[in-house]
Amino acid sequence: MSGRARGGSTRRVFGRRLIRLVFGDRRSPEISGTDRVDRADRADRLTRTDRVWPDPRHAGDDRAIAAAVVDSLTDVRFTAAMRDRVRAATTHRESVRDRLSPVFGGLAAAAVLVVVVNVGIVGLGGKTVHASSATTRREFAGDSMPPLIPTAGSLPGAAVVYNQEVHE
């Protein structure tokens, strides 16, 4: 875990940079050594900020303005009640997950079974068709006649007619 080392209070951290942006930086160049921002980045930012926001009216009262903005947001907090709700929600979701996991497990197993059975059926059917096609090709190759259907007598309609035509 790489927690960030911060200098000063959360309140100061929260608004300092925004105020520096808006009202310009009139502080001394010294910035907390615990700030993780690298020196080049920081120097670049201060230079740009001063260039963009050179309003001299605010010289000297940056800190007061920064505190004002921080104060304006002090009532936006992550409260203990919110922590409790997070705790309750995570507990609830865990229990739901625990209850439903056997159901999902069963459904998944059933789905796998269905897939396996279907693949088996299709595979078997494919082989049968292939074999009969080969037989047909072999019989045609022999006497140039279409194959007779031995069980045609027990079949209705077209197959019987076909067999009779072949015999004729």
């Binding site: 911060r6 007061a64 995570t90």
Partner: protein, 176 residues
């Protein structure tokens, strides 16, 4: 990635993060939404997600950056789903705390005006610029951390910061 933890261990971690980063997370969302109720709801959701996805957390990024990223994603999703723009709540500025360190009532009024001006200027920014301003200035992330959190190239972050500064300067001229 975090090694597999028991539920209690995960909760201990998330609870520690809530104490350490809860305020900044809810304020981040607040500045993206300008909606107290929504920011509270989404901040809670951030930590619920963190609890559920803790095994995906890599130690090479700071936990704060990871939480901010979750917060930004949740906020983006919420606004995409609602298809709405951020609007400052009615009466928001009236609910700002009083400036109790002012030397006089006149100073208090002046400070209140400044606060309103700053927050209104941020609220006027389009979401893409407001995200960058929030991460870079409020949360004090570096350019690279901001880029990482928002999944943007570093150059895009810089250009958006520049545009945000220009807009805020224009908005605040004469107001403060």
């Amino acid at each position: 990635m975090m090694e597999s933890q028991t539920n209690d261990e995960r909760w201990d971690t998330v609870e520690r993060w809530m104490r350490r980063h809860g305020d900044s997370v809810v304020r981040t969302i607040y500045l993206l939404t300008y909606d107290f109720a929504l920011s509270e709801e989404l901040a809670q959701e951030v930590f619920i997600r963190a609890y559920e996805k803790l095994h995906l957390f890599r130690g090479n990024a700071s936990e704060a950056t990871w939480l901010y990223r979750i917060a930004v994603n949740l906020t983006r999703n919420r606004f995409r789903r609602r298809n709405r723009e951020v609007a400052v709540e009615d009466g928001f500025f009236d609910r700002l705390p009083a400036w109790d360190r002012a030397a006089s009532p006149e100073d208090a009024l002046a400070e209140a005006d400044r606060r309103r001006a700053v927050l209104a200027a941020v609220a006027e920014l389009p979401p893409a610029l407001r995200e960058v301003v929030t991460m870079y200035y409020l949360n004090e992330l570096s350019l690279d951390e901001t880029a990482h959190t928002l999944r943007l190239p570093r150059g895009t972050v810089k250009s958006r910061l520049h545009r945000a500064r220009e807009r805020m300067r224009t908005a605040l001229e004469g107001a403060v």
